[in-house]
Amino acid sequence: MNRQNVLSVSVTDSIGVLGRVAGLFSRRGYNIKSLNVAETEKPGISRMTIVSQGEEGEIEQLVKQLRKLYDVSEVKILHDAVCREHIILQVGNSPVSRHAIIKTANLFRAKVVNVGESSLMLELTGEPEKIDSFISLLKPYTITKLVRTGISALERE
């Protein structure tokens, strides 16, 4: 079955580690929908959250290949996890649309972080589906810039 998988990968924070992981994906033909990496509570260890689409066999292979990398200390496929994504976007700001945009933002508990003459900048953190619907509701107001972090996730205990 082809589906989306969220992988949590612990890596040593060493030279070229991102290249090693990304290189593995590209040379073996696995896909990356999003990749998010930063330091963790442990010094010298970073955690990557990788979202990858693939058949069951492909994901099994991907996990095994990742485990063979010297810098990788742990690979987990997350099943029951808290997944969050952060987005910052800029939409057109006109007297006509301003009210509607702010109303939509409030509905999603997004924050207005900058108000310009011709644009509004908003930020929002939430589950990826929530982010998707937020974007689609704002589309009619002309999104001029958008950045999203990709999923970061932690397994529930």
Partner: protein, 564 residues
């Protein structure tokens, strides 16, 4: 504790790891390392090749022949990139190797400095791991770790890149005991082995398929006992040639694109397919949908990532193959499958590849290699280049020991053999070493003949000359309407004169009659000096049987008609 330069630390670490021979080529960024090698020359023997690629293949051949980790040293930039083919070759065949490259000083890194190249970036996908050392205090432990990674688990090459300033900076050095490369423990091995034993007991037509993941006398002995107790026929992949004594009656030949009819039949008819230390290369399985369709497959391998990669298996055991075989044997009562074996043996009586010479070139490669086998008692280390001659070497020499055939199976590197033979001979000076080359591959790295003569490395370079790129020609004949594009070489090379120019005695074999006599003379001479033999054969002798790429292993091509 002593305070040493980075270069001296490298030499000390090599000695600590038991290294007494290294292959390499000096240059600007490794001047300090070579200055140390000069001082350590009584402990470390350095062989300079004609080209860094030759040195990388030599380190690889040394490793395959001895079972120890091979070491190659090269300078930055082009020196480092010249190692790439050799490293990739070692990676594909899981050969333990440590490559040490120099680089420009740390302050010049990233500035497109003279002879600077990002060799750790370049070799990322073809090494088990690589390092760049930017702190001299970490140099010793990094080299130690490189050796550990190379030889532990599934073996492979590791590269350590050392900027020039690191090799002259000083750090405190003290020896540490070598970390043993013990095999990783089997995961749930007891249950998995018991389950495998049950499957073997139930099987009526078991078949053992063995690969390069069986090592040394101990591995060979365990395999022999397993084959005896299960009374199962054995076939080997190209990489597994010799892990089972090929003169034994249970051996039914190589499996794969140019494997025997008996082995192909065994794949088709077996009810239990047991793969040991083999990775189901596309050159072995052909069409994955029809491969071993009547069988359950048990896969025994040290690398979990090989399980279900190319072929879905029924059962798996992860771990060291020798250890698993030994434990498996204990659970098995003696089986009897005599009928199954004689049925398969019959297949090779029905079909055995015939080769015919011509009036101009009466010698066949089969005669040549079978004669070589006879004259060397099947005990020579055989290196090969890649192509038809490689396949004939695999088909007609009868190997008796694991990794006795030193060949580039995974990457298929033309130009590999001569360097590899140099390494093999340096590692095993008491054994006869023959490199079986085609004329195409020979021309790729023939410069290493000078390494043979300069260091007096008594290798037999056997050039099987058919004046064409035979394997590609064979494909062009079968699949490209006999349009022999760029494969009719017919080069004017005078092999005897060429060898003579390098200071090597050469011979020509051009008939079935003088084959034995000349081989004998050459082998005698090769006890003390390198020799070259040109064996002339016809350009249209094909490698058979042949399973076309991606086709079912069940139905190999057995004859190719030559009507042009």
């Amino acid at each position: 504790m002593r305070t040493l330069t980075g270069a001296d630390i490298i030499c000390e670490c090599l000695i600590e790891q038991g290294v007494d021979t290294v292959f390499g080529y000096p240059g600007g960024a490794v001047l300090n390392i070579y200055d140390s090698l000069y001082a350590y020359s009584d402990k470390i023997n350095h062989i300079i090749t004609a080209h860094e690629q030759g040195a990388s293949h030599a380190a690889d051949g040394y490793s395959r022949a001895t079972g120890r980790t091979g070491v190659v040293i090269a300078t930055s930039g082009p020196g480092a990139t010249n190692l790439v083919t050799g490293i990739a070759t070692a990676y594909m065949d899981s050969v333990p190797m440590v490559a040490i490259t120099g680089n420009v000083a740390c302050s010049l890194l990233g500035l497109d400095s003279f002879q600077e190249v990002d060799i750790t970036g370049i070799t990322m996908p073809i090494t088990k791991h690589n390092f760049i050392v930017k702190d001299v205090t970490k140099l010793a432990d990094t080299i130690r770790e490189a050796f550990y990674i190379a030889a532990s688990g599934r073996k492979g090459p590791v590269l350590v890149d050392v900027p020039k300033d690191i090799t002259i900076q000083k750090a405190e050095f003290f020896n540490k005991p070598v970390k043993p490369c013990t095999a990783e423990p089997c995961i749930n091995a007891d249950d998995a082995i018991a389950r495998a034993a049950e499957l073997i007991k139930q099987s009526e037509k078991p078949f053992l398929y063995t690969g390069g993941g069986i090592y040394g006398d101990e591995g060979a002995k365990a395999l022999k006992r397993l084959a005896d107790i299960t009374d199962a026929p054995v076939a080997s992949s190209l990489m597994g040639q010799g892990c089972y004594d090929q003169t034994d009656e249970k051996y039914i030949g190589m499996l794969g694109m140019h494997g025997t009819k008996a082995a192909a039949q065994a794949v088709k008819d077996c009810d239990l397919f047991i793969a040991i230390g083999a990775r189901f290369s596309d050159r072995v399985i052909g069409d994955p949908k029809t491969f071993a369709r009547n069988a359950r497959i048990i896969h025994i391998d040290i690398d979990p990532a090989e399980i279900n990669k190319n072929i879905k298996v029924y059962h798996q055991i992860i771990g060291d193959s020798t250890e698993i075989m030994k434990r498996l044997i204990k659970l098995l009562p003696r089986q009897n499958h005599g009928e199954w074996l004689s049925y398969l043996k019959q297949q090779d009586k029905i079909y055995s590849a015939r080769q015919k010479g011509t009036e101009q070139f009466p010698l066949t490669p089969r005669t040549l290699i079978e004669t070589l086998d006879e004259l060397t008692g099947g005990e020579a280390l055989i290196a090969t280049e890649v192509g038809q001659a490689q396949m004939w070497a695999a088909q007609y020499y009868r190997y008796k020991h694991p990794h006795q055939l030193i060949t580039s199976g995974g990457l298929g590197t033309m130009g590999y053999g001569l360097g590899a033979a140099i390494g093999a001979k340096c590692g095993c000076p008491d054994r006869t070493v023959v490199n079986i080359a085609g004329d195409g591959s020979f021309h790729m790295n023939l410069n290493e003949l000078v390494t043979l003569s300069k260091h007096n490395i008594p290798v037999v370079e056997l050039v099987v000359n058919n004046n064409v790129l035979g394997m590609v020609r064979q494909w062009q004949r079968l699949f490209y309407g006999k349009r022999f594009s760029q494969t009719t070489l017919e080069r004017p090379t005078d092999y005897v004169k060429l060898a003579g120019a390098f200071g090597i005695r050469a011979f020509v074999i051009d008939s079935e009659e003088n084959c034995r006599e000349i081989l004998k003379e050459a082998l005698e001479m090769a006890k003390t000096a390198p020799v070259l033999i040109e064996a002339r054969i016809d350009k249209d002798i094909n490698v058979l049987p042949m399973v076309p790429a991606g086709k079912s292993v069940d139905e190999p091509i057995l004859e190719i008609e030559i009507d042009d």
